[in-house]
């Protein structure tokens, strides 16, 4: 048993820390924090990462990734969260990118990978439908072959940031034969094609993140098909495992806890700082204890991956516990914000903690739903680990 990082890993940690301190400027931080400037600012930040060569830690070096070891990736992720730096937009870099370099043609790789890396293309994800959520394979958006095109009809929903997207990767039904999973294809669609319309969905956080994307006789060139027709489910599944691994979010939880600690020191209750309050102390400590455990659960996965074992069904554990803890942090933020907790402003009252608490709490409810709801993850563990049929 050896829980230490090597000297070169330690040196890397210093390098990463220094980079974030210098490059993640107050200006970026402020613009990323406001929903009016977010979409521009995140692209600016991703271009900084691209310049540094660190935009795609998970990608193989041959496709423009960093070629980092699992230990370095873990360190990078820890330092990113510690510095309060938001993660990159996942849709291109963490979702469709890996699908393209694993299953795409050379033409697709040449066409799409560079534009994902330098953030010229904004991607969105077309999986869920009004009638297909956890039971994703029941999706009914159809793509019918017509010469060199697929004609796509149907609707995708809960599509984050579709309003900014240049491209959408979609699961579409190309066959009704056999099991539902067998007739699904993975299709890349240009969002500017005629027949695509976007209906905004305002979330419970009052922001416009989500959308419905409707396809009405959209003619998509067949060179947008990934791999083979009717094999899309296999490609999508590989992506889901990837997605799950990325959402334990230990670093972000710890960052949230420091923000809470700092604010609770300044918040008075019954004439003393809230940090003296026994109920607060117990709540805060409980989350800390659980995240200390989660951090080592994640490290155990990292250690396995260093020794060449890929992520198995235990990534479901990280997803479940990680998202639960994220929500408990958000809940505690709202609790600490007290009277200000409902305030729908940050600028005019000088209490940006309360605004952050409200938005993060409301938007954060999605975490236990997306990426395969936590109940679905439990089904996976029951079957794959406990052997319960």
């Amino acid at each position: 048993m050896d829980i230490t990082f090597s000297d070169s890993d330690q040196a890397f940690r210093t390098e990463v820390r220094q980079f974030f301190a210098e490059s993640y400027t107050d200006d970026l931080k402020q613009r990323l924090g406001s929903s009016a400037t977010f979409s521009e600012a995140i692209i600016d930040w991703q271009k900084v990462l691209y310049q540094q060569g660190w935009i795609a830690p998970d990608w193989p070096a041959e496709y423009g990734g960093t070629g980092w070891s699992s230990a370095k990736k873990f360190i990078y992720e820890t330092e990113r969260a510690q510095a309060g730096v938001p993660d990159v937009l996942p849709f291109g870099l963490k979702m469709v990118g890996p699908v393209i370099y694993n299953f795409g043609t050379d033409e697709q790789k040449t066409k799409f990978l560079p534009a994902i890396l330098n953030s010229d293309h904004w991607w969105c994800q077309g999986y869920s439908e009004p009638g297909a959520g956890s039971d994703l394979a029941s999706l009914s958006t159809r793509a019918e072959r017509d010469g060199d095109h697929y004609v796509v009809n149907g609707a995708k929903v809960w599509t984050s940031y579709a309003q900014y997207a240049d491209w959408i990767f979609c699961l579409v039904r190309t066959s009704s034969d056999g099991k539902p999973q067998q007739g699904i294809s993975f299709l890349l669609i240009d969002m500017t094609l005629p027949g695509i319309s976007i209906n905004p969905i305002i979330g419970i956080d009052n922001r416009h993140t989500l959308n419905e994307v409707v396809f009405d006789n959209v003619r998509v060139p067949v060179d947008g098909l990934i791999g083979e027709e009717n094999k899309g489910w296999t490609y999508a599944k590989s992506l889901l495992a990837h997605e799950r691994n990325a959402i334990a979010g230990v670093g972000d939880i710890k960052n949230g806890l420091s923000a809470i600690h700092e604010h609770a020191e300044k918040t008075m209750s019954a004439g003393q700082p809230l940090t003296r309050d026994p109920a607060f102390r117990a709540r805060f400590s409980q989350i800390q204890i659980d995240v200390m455990a989660l951090e080592y659960s994640e490290l155990r996965t990292v250690a396995k991956s260093i020794s060449g074992q890929g992520p198995g069904p235990e990534s479901s554990l990280l997803k479940i516990r990680g998202t639960e803890l994220q929500q408990r942090v958000q809940e505690l933020m709202l609790y600490v914000a007290g009277n200000f907790a409902g305030a729908q402003t940050s600028d005019s009252i000088g209490n940006d903690f309360a605004d952050r608490a409200r938005v993060e709490y409301m938007y954060g409810r999605a975490a236990t739903v997306y990426g395969g709801s936590n109940e679905i993850q439990k089904n996976i563990i029951a079957k794959a680990i406990l052997g319960l049929g």
């Binding site: 829980i3 490290l299 052997g387 319960l388």
Partner: protein, 390 residues
């Protein structure tokens, strides 16, 4: 970075597991629990023979030089087997206090006797009013003609019933709850003025209340330094917390597996009850919590080892602080998860889970008992909060 056991550690783990599987079935355990001693001396001698009693001691003292991780490996397996033998009380705590102090060389002979299985020891540190507060010591030790005279009562002393030697915390200075002014005395259990009342606990382990009436102790029979016993004791308890957490983890794993297996064979409504999603999700919750406990155990054991390996005093102090927080976090989690896993195991076994005949309830009772040793959930949570919020 890796969390794999070394070849030697795997051998130890397998050796303990196999021995208990072959020699310590549930009926055997029941008989041992009902005996006057509360554990089996025959098994204890086998433990000595197999080298397990030497594991935590330094090599120059005749041991294997094991650390908190090695303790945990043994204890996890003892937990799975629900063994009653006083490995924790005698080897890890009593032996640890003798061996890890500055005066270890004075105790060489006794340590050798622990290792060969001929000496039983116990640490007597709880009093009726102290609850979980180590510094709350009313037992007095006053100096008279070059001897200390001890008076007071220690309660719920693990292995007290069998101990030949006792390490007793007593106040030599200061007020009732001061951390300074506590001294650890090394006392013969048969000395004049020492009387014991022993009784069984719900987990089958025996303990004793020990009354001290004008017990005379020579001034050289002190473990560590006069007035400064508290830190030694606290450190020994930290290591004991990690060890009991490992035992609890072994028990939880056993209960999880037993429960999963039972729900696959028990049929109601014509199907195995394990096919019901309501039960599957509850077993998944058990699994997730057990894995989280294992993660925190690894964290605590590793940070305990790191703290004791540090040579620079400042680094050492910093690491000890971290390790203390890790250990308190672990103690909280073991209490919470122990309760969850125990209750769920009973619930999913239904009626049969209520019977004394089935081993499940006995595992649950050990988990409940572990929660009350060295500070329960609330006590540990408050101590943890003090460490992180001041």
């Amino acid at each position: 970075m890796n969390f794999d056991y070394s070849e030697e550690q795997t051998l130890i783990k397998d050796s303990v597991a196999k021995y208990l599987q072959n020699n310590y079935d549930f009926d055997t355990r029941k008989k041992i629990a009902a005996s006057e001693l509360g554990y089996s001396n025959e098994h204890w001698q086998q433990f000595a023979e197999l080298g397990w009693l030497a594991i935590p001691f330094a090599e120059h003292l005749g041991g294997f030089g094991g650390n908190a991780i090695d303790d945990a490996i043994v204890m996890e397996e003892l937990g799975k087997g629900l063994a009653l033998e006083p490995y924790l009380a005698c080897v890890i705590m009593f032996g640890g206090l003798l061996a890890n102090g500055p005066d270890a060389s004075r105790h060489e002979q006794d340590i050798a006797a622990i290792i060969d299985g001929s000496l039983q020891g116990a640490v007597a540190f709880t009093e009726t009013q102290s609850r979980y507060e180590l510094a709350d010591v009313k037992t007095t030790a006053s100096l008279s003609n070059g001897q200390y005279i001890l008076n007071g009562e220690k309660v719920v002393v693990a292995n007290g019933q069998a101990a030949d030697k006792l390490i007793i915390s007593a106040r030599t200075a200061g007020e009732q709850s001061d951390t300074t002014g506590i001294t650890l005395f090394y006392v013969d259990a048969n000395a004049a003025g020492v009387s014991k009342t022993d009784y069984p606990m719900m987990d089958g382990h025996r303990v004793a209340n020990i009354t001290l009436t004008d017990v005379a102790v020579d001034s050289e029979n002190i473990v560590g330094e006069v007035h400064h016993g508290y830190d030694n004791l606290a450190r020994a308890i930290d290591r004991a917390i990690i060890a009991t957490a490992a035992e609890a983890l072994g028990i939880m794993e056993k209960l999880l597996h037993t429960t999963v297996a039972y729900t696959q064979t028990r049929k109601q409504f014509g199907v195995a009850i394990g096919s019901f999603q309501a039960l599957q999700h509850r077993m998944v919750d058990m699994f997730i919590n057990v894995e989280q406990t294992r993660s925190l155990l690894l964290r605590s054991a590793c940070s305990n080892v790191a703290a004791h390996q540090a040579s620079d005093p400042n680094t050492c102090e910093e690491l000890l602080k971290q390790s203390k927080q890790d250990t308190l976090a672990l103690k909280v989690m073991v209490a919470q998860v122990g309760k969850l896993v125990g209750d769920e195991a009973l619930q999913m076994h239904g009626g049969i889970g209520m019977t004394d005949e089935l081993d499940v309830g006995h595992y649950v009772k050990r988990l409940l008992r572990i929660n009350t040793m060295f500070g329960d959930e609330d006590y540990s949570m408050q101590a943890f909060a003090k460490g992180s919020l001041g």
